[in-house]
Amino acid sequence: MADTLLEVEGLNVRFESARQSHHAVRGVSFAIGRQKVGIVGESGSGKSLTGRAIMKLAPKAARIEAGKINFDGIDLLAASERRMRAIRGNRISMILQDPKFSLNPLMRIGNQITEAYRLHHRANAAQARAKALQMLESVDIRDPERVFRQYPHEVSGGMGQRVMIAMMLIPEPDLIVADEPTSALDATVQRQVLRILDDLVTRRGAGLLFISHDLNLVADFCDRVLVMYAGQILEDIPARELRHARHPYTRALLDCLPRLDRKVDTLATVSRDPAWLLPVQPAGGVLA
């Protein structure tokens, strides 16, 4: 990988309170170029927190430590909050899981998208509007004019998710952190959304960090896959080799999916082995 966009070394995230401490991300290191990298794992494996820690958007209670978080030559660890605000949205943007909670319920959809554009680009209202309508169209919204005027509660979940993607992609970021962007969508729409993301990544040479619990999707869509379990990266493998993964956890995740081409009576369930936890630097962490 000649062109490294993001480099993370020894990332640790801890939640500490008076009574207990929870070590949520344990010494994670990886690098992303202008490619599609998937992070898979179950809920609670620390995959979303990893994505958020990169953007320094982790909850206040979280203590983030890392050897290095470098984005395109910028040391994010040392960057001020002011600097981060200029980077977030413009250079790195984040597509979240649930449009119900991440769109402003009191603002018309069109205004939210034009706001995102005008925050990072010099444009007058008419230009921004044209750009927003074009963006809505590019995420396959059939009637962009109508959606532009609507409020988030008036659109379906799939539509809301596409609106959010339009909003996040309109500043044309270099790195997109997508946290389960398609898990609320049905297959047809999911495919459209993936195609849109794929286009942007390929056409603009952007990097994509795709957080998902859907192994098959990640195997088909991404170039490389990181498998996370209990805050650690268990495996870092090329996506096309995911189906032949050796780690028992990755195998178990693959086997528990119902499949169209294989009829089974009872699905396999995942059993966990404490030995999968790699030894990390002792810091009073409590096992998840």
Binding site: A219, P258, L260, L267
Partner: protein, 262 residues
């Protein structure tokens, strides 16, 4: 109790519209289908195609429909009696939203028993919790003390505690991890065989539908356009172009070319 193979649910010309006058939108349009007792019937379609609305109308959560809903060959009116409600229960998509955050599990489970005037309530609560693989110790938990999968188990226990014959499942596993999804699907399958339940399930995940259902209907913009067997779904055999596109969309994604076909 119905014998397997008898008609248990039927809708005739069911129509649900939202809004009035010029804004009216027909969400479920002239839907007629039958489900036999003991069957597991799947509904698939894009989001917004009306599949959840159809399910809610059958569940009695939306009385504002036209057409008829028949239960065991008798039409049930828009104002239902308790017996009709008891016969049909529903499990919702979001296990985080469907349990009252300030009620303990046992309160959530006792409430339907009180409403339907059932006896031996404490025993039934324990039995229901055991049936979904949780156990009586979970009585005293609040929803925030449960994981997503455990919450969905409680929601299933709550639906089953009044011994319904039909279970309506609205995307019961889409909010869950794949590992938990496998556990819940296994649980649903076991419960159906043990209790001879009839399922009507809505999902956009074809593999999940094919795993659980023997018959699958495709909905497009409020209409039922095609019925298929589980085998047809597995082999991508569809008559209508729309259903074919839907089946194709569930095949693996391969780069930028795949989308144009759908």
């Amino acid at each position: 109790m119905m014998r397997a193979g008898e008609r248990i649910v039927e809708t005739i010309g069911l129509r649900v519209a939202f809004g009035e006058g010029a804004d009216a939108r027909t969400v479920v349009d002239d839907v007629s289908f039958q489900v036999l007792a003991g069957q597991s019937f799947g509904l698939i379609g894009e989001s917004g195609c009306g599949k959840s609305t159809l399910l809610r109308a059958i569940a009695g959560l939306n009385a504002d429909y036209r057409g008829s809903i028949l239960l065991q060959d008798k039409e049930i009116g828009r104002a239902r009696d308790k017996a009709a409600y008891r016969c049909i229960q529903m499990v919702f998509q979001d296990p985080y939203a469907c349990l009252h955050p300030r009620k303990m599990v046992q309160q959530a489970l006792l409430e339907p028993l009180v409403i339907h005037g059932m006896d031996q309530r404490q025993d039934r609560v324990d039995d229901a919790l055991l049936a979904v693989g949780l156990g009586p110790a979970f009585r005293y938990r609040y929803p925030h003390e449960l994981s997503g999968g455990q919450r969905q188990r409680v929601a299933i226990a709550r639906a089953l505690i009044i011994e319904p014959e039909i279970l309506l499942l609205d995307e019961p596993t889409s909010a869950l991890d794949v590992s938990v999804q496998a556990e819940i699907l296994n649980l649903l399958k076991t419960l159906r065989t043990q209790r001879g339940l009839t399922y009507i399930m809505v999902s956009h995940n074809l593999a999940v539908v094919a795993h659980l259902c023997n018959r699958v209907a495709v909905m497009e913009r409020g209409r039922l356009i095609e019925e298929m067997s589980e085998d047809d779904v597995r082999h991508g055999r569809a008559r209508e172009p729309y259903s074919r596109a839907l089946l194709n969309a569930n095949m693996p994604y391969h780069g930028g070319t795949a989308g144009s076909a759908a």
